[in-house]
Symmetry: D2
Subunit: 435 residues, 4 copies
Amino acid sequence: MNKNEFCKRPPMGWNSYDYYDTTVTEADIRANAAFMAEHLKDAGWEYVVVDIEWYAHDPGTQRDLYQYIPFWPMEMDEYSRVIPDPVRFPSSVNGAGFRPLADYVHSLGLKFGIHVMRGIPRQAAAAHAKIKGTDVTANQIADPSSICKWNPDMYGVRDMEAGQLYYDSVIELYAEWGVDFIKCDDICVIESTDVPEIHRYASKHEIRMIAKAIEKQGRPIVFSLSPGPAHLEQAWIYQKYANMWRITGDFWDDWKALKNMFCRCELWQDHVKEGCYPDCDMLPLGKLGRGFGDERDSNFNKEEERTMYTLWCIFGSPLMAGGDMLHYEEDVLEMLNNKEVLELLDPDCRGRQVIRDEEKAIWIAENRWKKTAYAALFNLSDEEKEISGTLDELHVGMESLKCRELWTGESNEISGKKISAVIPAHGCKLYQILD
Amino acid sequence: MNKNEFCKRPPMGWNSYDYYDTTVTEADIRANAAFMAEHLKDAGWEYVVVDIEWYAHDPGTQRDLYQYIPFWPMEMDEYSRVIPDPVRFPSSVNGAGFRPLADYVHSLGLKFGIHVMRGIPRQAAAAHAKIKGTDVTANQIADPSSICKWNPDMYGVRDMEAGQLYYDSVIELYAEWGVDFIKCDDICVIESTDVPEIHRYASKHEIRMIAKAIEKQGRPIVFSLSPGPAHLEQAWIYQKYANMWRITGDFWDDWKALKNMFCRCELWQDHVKEGCYPDCDMLPLGKLGRGFGDERDSNFNKEEERTMYTLWCIFGSPLMAGGDMLHYEEDVLEMLNNKEVLELLDPDCRGRQVIRDEEKAIWIAENRWKKTAYAALFNLSDEEKEISGTLDELHVGMESLKCRELWTGESNEISGKKISAVIPAHGCKLYQILD
Amino acid sequence: MNKNEFCKRPPMGWNSYDYYDTTVTEADIRANAAFMAEHLKDAGWEYVVVDIEWYAHDPGTQRDLYQYIPFWPMEMDEYSRVIPDPVRFPSSVNGAGFRPLADYVHSLGLKFGIHVMRGIPRQAAAAHAKIKGTDVTANQIADPSSICKWNPDMYGVRDMEAGQLYYDSVIELYAEWGVDFIKCDDICVIESTDVPEIHRYASKHEIRMIAKAIEKQGRPIVFSLSPGPAHLEQAWIYQKYANMWRITGDFWDDWKALKNMFCRCELWQDHVKEGCYPDCDMLPLGKLGRGFGDERDSNFNKEEERTMYTLWCIFGSPLMAGGDMLHYEEDVLEMLNNKEVLELLDPDCRGRQVIRDEEKAIWIAENRWKKTAYAALFNLSDEEKEISGTLDELHVGMESLKCRELWTGESNEISGKKISAVIPAHGCKLYQILD
Amino acid sequence: MNKNEFCKRPPMGWNSYDYYDTTVTEADIRANAAFMAEHLKDAGWEYVVVDIEWYAHDPGTQRDLYQYIPFWPMEMDEYSRVIPDPVRFPSSVNGAGFRPLADYVHSLGLKFGIHVMRGIPRQAAAAHAKIKGTDVTANQIADPSSICKWNPDMYGVRDMEAGQLYYDSVIELYAEWGVDFIKCDDICVIESTDVPEIHRYASKHEIRMIAKAIEKQGRPIVFSLSPGPAHLEQAWIYQKYANMWRITGDFWDDWKALKNMFCRCELWQDHVKEGCYPDCDMLPLGKLGRGFGDERDSNFNKEEERTMYTLWCIFGSPLMAGGDMLHYEEDVLEMLNNKEVLELLDPDCRGRQVIRDEEKAIWIAENRWKKTAYAALFNLSDEEKEISGTLDELHVGMESLKCRELWTGESNEISGKKISAVIPAHGCKLYQILD
């Protein structure tokens, strides 16, 4: 099984984190899945992902002290594998795990994903719990010095045969459940900037071990690495083993962070390939933060929202909607359902940034097979501004006289081979250049 | 003028440094150019490049103390521009500069290149010499704190209008001479590892200024950056302004350095694009080091030589032969003239490393238009060894039954979809996989 | 209580680590204590220190895999405090702890010390064990991300009131046992060089908390910090809270490491003060390594042994004999019992290095009250060599004509104000300069 | 000659930089010297120091572009040694150099100092100028890659015999002039923080060479190193060769910088020794900045001024008054003439910081010979505040009942062994504790 084969376009879906944090329940997932099936599936949205701490007891109850309660019970099977918290995921009892929920998601024509921390539960190591199919116990494969700096649940798994067998058993369980997507955390780069580079790749062998376990299992499970920012020097490792990897820390509804993504996308633009996607992180849309005890509307205005979405698309990032879909307003749904824009994710269409400074950015994408090209003009300044470029400057090889703005549907003539638009602060225009 | 347009394949040529160092003369250049025209031109070799210090008086005469004599006279015109040392380049007198030598090279059907240090001569700054077409003098555009750590000739040029005019005047002169290729030094990365990263890009604005000067001039001059190792984070800058950039420090005939190139090429393999070439540096072939006072035969044995050349080709590096061509033996010439191997440089053929460990490496290149693929098997260990991989493992999408080894011409069957060969220590096999 | 008051001279004693590692038993400690009382006490040796893992079950039984067995039972009382392993320390049963052993050591006229890791047992955090005198449990004060890189026993204690109460309770227990010396580990500097500086002081608040607990308890317990190398920028912290701190990583019987100590002592020579001692680590003497499964004689020859000891003395380091005292040969005992040399530890006598290069070092110490001075000449080269210096060069303010070598007892004249000696490779001479 | 012998107390004087920058003239120096002799000499103030660029032509005339004009003529003798600019220092003509000005300063009973950049003029290297007493020329001893990042005048001198002879000739000239104090710049630490540590000590050999030249010359010239912050790891080098070294970057009239000095002084407090003084930099008093084109009164209020001065004194820093003395108001003169406070500079009186946090600092100094002690209480907060400490907490070993505040002259009783005062924001109290 070649992991690039089953992931020819950047994955599109929804993730529970931005709204629910650690508190998400089965009901929340079902409601969002149903919503996606009804309102977004047709445009290609398919993954429904349960994010962090679905195995934890009482998440969110000590939020004044911790996001993740340390040394607290986690639901675990007899083989040191975490299973869903039965209080929040009632259908998971009696050994069913996520199977019933995955079945429901599949019944809607969608795919089911979960978040997981790399490693083996600290409580399994302390309890000398069993590893399926082996004589060894968890304390023998857990590395006591390989920890996550921001989450207390796990120890890293040692690079040894029994460690591989543990990951094999974990992926086997996920496959039995019907999992289609794994977002593995604490494995891409250690977030804290005060960790030296050499140390940030401590989890490199675990990327390999999990990839191998997926390959052995034979189920086409998308393998997503978190958190970021990933390191360019390791691009070839990510490409070899994973389908997507985060190129930024947690992305939230902050203009400064969004502006910075133009720089990050520039760094990674050569690395977007079939089955291999640098990941710009979730799209913080609509209502956010309830699970964090800080429910709010996204701080992005409509211009910024569109700028974000346009950049993600023309760059070729996976698209993971954040926020609670049930609260999405009509304009957000329209944006996500714009199929012309989603054509940018076509494997034969690769974007590149041709101009970037403090005030503006221009991206170009060409689809040689379909003989079409796109130009996205971004106003990064804080005032309305004319943004323009000639086809020559943009290195577009077409002799074109017409273009169409894909968000408004307006047609324009290209006079003097120059594309130009007056754009509001933080806004953008996305043109398809017609042959 | 789009700099990518006139450089659709990695440049191929010869450079004087590995054999002559700072002491190269007009006669040396003419002899090598004539040799190239007779023995190598037909296979695509075309650039003849005069490397460092062609403007310096007495180079090599104080070699026990310095490679580059500090505070020593350099030949310079009235506008602070270096011109050839008339002792070593007699045809350059009376303002002719490199024109006569370039004419000769062109008359052979070849192209002419020169090395240059970024910046303006320190002696021009001290003398308050003129800048062509301006009222300012050299002291006003020279930055006294922007120096090269290893060469005392120049000061960096400030990022100001008069600085751009200086570079414009320099490129104008080169264009008048008929220069086709500029290897600009001390501009890609400062070699010393004890310089912090932030400081290594001090010369970023000079990359831009020189690129702009070339574009203004309108002559298709290949712009090559040195020394390395270039930084991945700056890839987009190199791509935007230059045609090639060094991904390694000076490369010499040392197996450890060669083995290390498999790692560097892996890092840069996604960045080989039309008009944009990560550069593996010169090929140290035949006789080396005379100008350094250390004339010797290359330390590479025949296996290593071929391994180097095969890697450079399948990766898509520019090919700059080093060593004195007049001393090349028959087998070296045969290697350089193998046109089947040089097909790897075709713009539609991009290589990637699919396997690498301490013992071996395997590269694959596919040319979708010509429906052919290549597999290079390298034995990186110190003993004879069987190296093999299945087409699946190598991610070759062809259902092929035959292949041909391009160095020996032998045909092989591919049984069980597996390519395999017993290869001497440090050696390689290069297979074309036939449809 | 002022911690500097009860520690006016560098502490002198013995530590079990170099010979016994984790496997030391009560019988070993008693035998060494008895030996010290009989053979070394008279010269000032007094501390008997039980080093690492005295609370661990089965130490040394999985040595092929681990020095410290992870996730293995440790003996602990009901308040999350480690207590001695009853198998190796039989007198500790029934709640006696180290009291009986300390009583025995005290009965010999000696003092009793123990090693301890900073923090609270991981097993206490997992078990939500109690903290004496509080309502909180171990999981609430343990910091899940504050771990020791090389030892899996503990979590760091959070900087909170209940954390202070835990340390108070720990020191209270030690005081009840009669502990006179605590070597606290994983608290001075994290040994791994790949940890950034900012992170190395994660344990700073624990230095303060333990110092405060000792001060509260009111028992004069020497507080020693490990491992090293300590950082000069933190000197004022060490001085404020502790009595000694390691200025090197683990020091073993290796000439290169010994030579390097001349550099480290130079860095720290201004910081030797009453109650505050930069610590050169144990003296690896006699038989070493049994507990490590690698029993051997020290690799130091007699010259090197004396060089080490002379440096430690003239610098003013604490003196902690390593190796099994029962195996000490006569010459080692003579060395340790040379009272004239031990005069160098007098609080009014501070040494300084006046000359150091690759070949030699010369240290000077003056005792203004006793109107005497010392000069130590070290031959750091690998050949016999004459080492010399004039009193002027050495900045000795005395007009002296005589000196006495303290290891041989020989008297010398100082002719021409010059001290000079032919010294074997790696050897030294220690002169007292007489008024 | 032992450099510690002629510098038993921290040097006290005045420096032209803070007010005059590069523009200072002979008249300015004479006027300030006369003022010092009349108003400050009696309290111990003695050095009059001419700061940077006294050899430069036209300093300050291109201030909109440069503080130091690059590639501009500097006055130089035939042996590559800078001499005073005759325009600004008219008495220096005809080879007299600074002799007449030094004579004048000496005639007032004061001492004369100059600033100098390490190295040899770039213009001397370019001109192949002579080196006195040798056959070599400046280009042979100048290191083309050893430059000052912020000043374009010099190249570093190579570590070679002819380099030593150059420095010998320079110091010989200064001795002929009657120089008593050299503030050598660009030699202590390279100011830019983006230079890696290993590189910051490039000038280490030049510290040694200049110290050796002074020692050879035999004149007691105080050797002061700049800029800072010096590095603790190099403390032993500074101590070995110099009399004072800057522990901070340029210090100006900024509260944040002053507050930070409490931290820096803590780091260096163990390194204040006879002849060896960590240097807190000039005291920016009265009028500042005229030479910078920014004449202003110091931003420090009276409380801050006194806090600064008290810290400098109790720490034992050299005292170099900045600002133009002619503008000093009465209260500043009173402060500088308080002889009781200046007793803190007594060699037997060493200060140490016993308490420091964000809100306050307390320093203690004891003079064992005179049986007296001092306590300085600093309010570092932005509000009036009571600051207090018991004699025990302050580790003062005296049983005292009385103290006197040295700025106000008020006597206080010490009740309950506690010293306490209500102090304005940023202010201090300095108590002498009486026996």
